[in-house]
């Protein structure tokens, strides 16, 4: 049998492929087609206790653990009337630089209060560097029902130990009064 | 309360007794308790001023020794020995009975300001266990009932005597004696009785003596 010209044989491959299943993902139109696996290391989030107080205590262990030096934390003192977390200390400044982050998750392992976890969010692109440094307000989880935005005091009669033992189930009316008062005051 | 000029003079008198004046701090604090019923912050400051040391140093001493109280004691201090021997021989029961009678626990004053109850350590009176003290005077061989009876009599204002003789005055008077022991009361009552000497007598009868200390082993 006479051999077909090389060019025609090439088209054969093309022709056959037309009938094969397409693996290309049409991103972003079909983003939902291949969602990340649940354990995917995506954008970080800063969690809250059930009453809305922040879990982050500003200890900087995440920053210490970070091999890429992507995290900057500055702690501060919880003051009377300006409480952001249970206990003495909270993270006043919390930044993650996604230009540096390698999503290794060592920060998550280091976090002593489970304040820092990772979401599956992977759409981290932008057209400038500044916006890729995520600030605390970008990383904090939204308030769920039953949570109140800090600053507010701990649930009356409890201590930070109760928070760490997960004994807090949600904000109580006394805390709501404080938050309302603060919103009115300024 | 304020430390009077007279008390200050007495404090100075105590301070002057010792080659190093700060040695006088313990009797001085007793004197403060004798006038204030407790070691007050003012008393601490006055002692510090007289001795030329800081109030913190005086506070350290006043909080270290359990005989100094930082709250008003009240009229009578009741101590019950609950160390091993007294405790086993009924001291714990005596303490419980008193605690129930007075409605107070360890190192607490009663609501009427009459009594202060305290678990105390060994009073070196194991011969007469269980032992209770009232204003640091011995009440030997007490029972829960006799201890409560003593408290009842004191509460009624009756005169009570220690089982060894001396008349019970009140806490502040005792504190004064502790500050100035040479007030003539030192020989009141029985210091040594036959029961305390039983062991000695038996040892003598049987020719027992302590082993001699071997030479060269200090």
């Amino acid at each position: 049998m006479a051999e077909l010209p090389q060019a025609v044989r090439g088209f054969g491959v093309t022709f056959a492929t037309i009938f094969k299943k397409v693996v290309t993902e049409q991103y972003p139109e079909q983003a939902a087609k291949f969602p990340p696996k649940p354990r995917y290391h995506g954008r970080h989030q800063l969690n809250r206790w059930a009453d809305g107080l922040e879990k982050c205590i500003g200890c900087e262990l995440c920053a210490w653990a970070c091999p890429a030096d992507a995290i900057f934390v500055q702690g501060a003192d919880n003051q009377e009337g300006d409480r952001h977390s249970p206990g003495e200390r909270y993270g006043r400044v919390y930044q993650i630089n996604y230009l540096r982050c390698i999503f290794c998750g060592l920060c998550i392992e280091a976090c002593p209060t489970r304040a820092l976890t990772m979401t599956n969010e992977f759409e981290l692109a932008d057209n400038n560097r500044a916006d890729l440094i995520y600030e605390k307000q970008d990383l904090l989880t939204p308030l769920l029902p039953g949570m109140l935005a800090p600053p507010h005091e701990m649930v009356p009669g409890t201590t930070d130990t109760d928070y760490y033992a997960n004994k807090i189930t949600g904000a109580v009316p006394e805390q709501a009064v404080q938050v309302d008062a603060e919103q009115v005051a300024p | 309360m304020t430390i009077s000029a007279e008390t200050r003079d007495q404090l100075r008198e105590l301070a002057a007794r010792y080659p190093k004046s700060r040695s006088a701090l313990l009797p001085m604090l007793h004197l403060v308790q004798s006038v204030d019923d407790e070691v007050t912050s003012e008393g601490i400051n006055v002692c510090a001023e007289i001795l030329g040391i800081t109030s913190a140093e005086v506070t350290a001493v006043a909080t270290f020794y359990t005989m100094y109280k930082r709250k008003p004691v009240g009229k009578h201090h009741i101590g019950v020995c609950t160390n091993t021997l007294c405790g086993l021989l009924g001291g714990d029961a005596v303490y419980s009975a008193l605690s129930e009678r007075l409605g107070i626990g360890h190192n607490e004053p009663s609501a009427d300001g009459q009594f202060w109850l305290e678990h105390i350590e060994c009073q070196a009176a194991c011969t007469h266990a269980p032992v209770m003290t009232v204003d640091w005077e011995y009440m030997d061989d007490v029972t829960p009932a006799s201890a409560v009876a003593v408290v009842d009599r004191l509460a009624r204002g009756e005169q009570v005597e220690s089982t060894r003789g001396p008349v019970i005055r009140d806490f502040q008077a005792t504190e004064h004696t502790l500050a100035f022991p040479l007030d003539g009361l030192v020989n009141d009552g029985v210091a040594v009785d036959a029961k305390m000497l039983v062991g000695l007598r038996l040892a003598n009868e049987r020719g027992m003596s302590a082993a001699s200390i071997p030479a060269g082993d200090a």
Binding site: C59, E88 | A56, T59
Partner: protein, 791 residues
Amino acid sequence: MTITSDAGSDLTPQVEMVTVVVDGVAIEIPKGTLVIRAAELLGIEIPRFCDHPLLEPVAACRMCLVDIEGVPKPQPACAQVVSEGMQVRTQLTSPVARDAQEGVMEFLLLNHPLDCPVCDKGGECPLQNQAMTAGRPESRFDEVKRTFPKPINVSAQILLDRERCVSCARCTRFAEQIAGDPMLELLERGANQQVGTAVDQPFDSYFSGNTVQICPVGALTSAAYRFRSRPFDLVSVPTTCEHCASGCSLRTDHRRGTVTRRLAWDEPAVNEEWNCDKGRFAFTYQEQGRVTTPLIREDGQLRVASWPEALDFAARGLSAASSHGVLVGGRSTVEDSYAYARFARVALKTDNIDFRVRDSSDEEAQFLRSAVAGTAVRTTYETLEQAPVVLLIAFEPEDESPIVFLRLRKAARGGTRVYAVGPVATRGLAKLSGTLIPAKPGAEPAVLAELAEQVRAELQAPGAVIMVGERIAGIQGGATAVLQLAQATGAALTWVPRRAGERGALDAGALAGLLPGGRPLTEDSARAAVAAAWGVDSLPATVGLAGAELLAAARDGAIGALITGGVELGDLADQSLGRAGLEAAGFVVALENHHSAITELADVVFPVAVVTEKAGTFMNWEGRPRPFAQTFKDALVMSDAVVLGMLAKAMNIAVGASDVAGIRQELGALGAWTGPRAERPNVPAGPVAEGAHLVATWRALIDNGVMQEGEPYLAATAHLVAATVSATTAGALGNPESVTVTGPLGSVTVPLEIGAVIDGVVCLPLNSPGCVLYRDLGVRSGQAVTIKGAL
């Protein structure tokens, strides 16, 4: 560890040596050495908390237990002295020692909270580290821990977390043995034992910050540094303290261009391991109120200008003037002072220069030229420690040079006798177990002349020291009397200025009549040598104006242009003279790092660097150079010397090197002067002021000083601002709670305190909140005021 002096080593008695064996290694060491030190010398680290080489052994923490052959139980290595043939086995070779240490660690951790993530000590904590190296991996304790409310203030600055304390007693021993402020004590007993103060009597020691540094756990922390950063965030740079003439070695820790804290650094010859709270906490001024760009005055208003414009403007103004003056505040580095001294003589061709923009006198200038500038170092911290007797005149070391105070206290504990001539037996003097030689303010020269024979005899002993403070300038005849006393007794005389830059400025020649290295301007050979070094034909040959004379000349319009460097008008006793002088001067160029009264009066303002932004040298009171490197390597602010160099260039004058290395080389090449010195002052004692109440005053360590701004916790630990008088004087006033003190300019009302002050004298702080004597009263030391009981 303190290095012992090798000076006079042939005098030291023969040390008896013993041989001990630690972990099988033999070492020969002096008898009486502690076992823990012997192990250190062999490089064997025994874990410890309470042990500190500068504190007396206490064996409180029990962490350093070691196994000693022949002793039935483990012994604490920090309290056990070595003896001949002792066989010590540490945790490295002895299971008994290892087990004992692990047991102690387990006990120490029983009640220790798991605060490490929020604790300021976390990351640099001896307890954390040694729990890893000498502890068991797991605790067997599963009960409830003892808790305390946390944290409590033992002072406004020092916070105490009692849960974290391991009762090592380092802080209380420091307070008692080193600072002499036993206001911090171990209270209660047993499991309740805790560090604390007396009720309502905070730990307001000038040295309280050291307790934070030596606390081996996070029990003591400072309010200023609370939760500010973590050790691994920080870049640490060794530096020298800029606050006083003690010359402490410090470590500056910074993060992202901001100083977060400062620590005392180890310098056995100077500050050992201590510093004062001002040196530790007062650094926030570096960032606040800074001049950031050159400013020039146009139509009466200062406006921002570019460097070339401002330099040109300043150069034209300076060139146009026919007479000049240079005022250098006492805070310049040696290099900057040298640059001013050189700029004045070379570029401005004037000798009108003074670094003493404070209470000063001609007599003082003569004293400094003749007896201090460029002299060989004779008295040091070490010789002070060994001195048999020290006489203090116009000098309150605890306030004015706190590390001198600490060394004097160490000396006094070792037997040195301390005398102070003055009107007040201060708290500091009491802590030195010192004796007051009473003298009314102004009467010091007379008292010195008639000093008791016994004191005079003591001063003749070898090693005796006379320390005179910068306040001697305010006492007429004072410097003369001190010099005479030193000459008559042979005691070493040393001058202790207050500010860090004064001693260096003196040696750099920033004083009229004085060239670098202590060279008298009036000596032809000295002048010729310096002129050659500076590459000019000649230098001004007549001694210029200094101090008040210079300002008075400016006021009278005799000074066409003034250059000021780091000058504060508030330092001048006669503030109206200073203001009038600057106002009347034709043209004022100010080199300043902060906006101040001076910048308000200047025609040109150049921003200059603070200590963190430049390298340099401070010369401390000993005459010891204390060089330091630039903390912020990328700081763009220039030093005074660099700005003066640029200014000279703009004036088309060559002045030589203006970088630190170049200036050090120039100064080094010049060296010290060995020729004839300027004449000694010979001023008769002045009269003692008339009046019922004479003022005795000096600056408290913690006061209104501009370099303490922005540090409220530090300010809150200042000593009580009060008028202190004798019981007799107070009685005559009717023992009021507070008094109103009135001087020519006005009055202040302050609480009345009774103290060891001589009758007829009232002791007031010079520049403290609510009592600024020069501004509010218009009086200086030795002048009379009226006092009334306040309602």
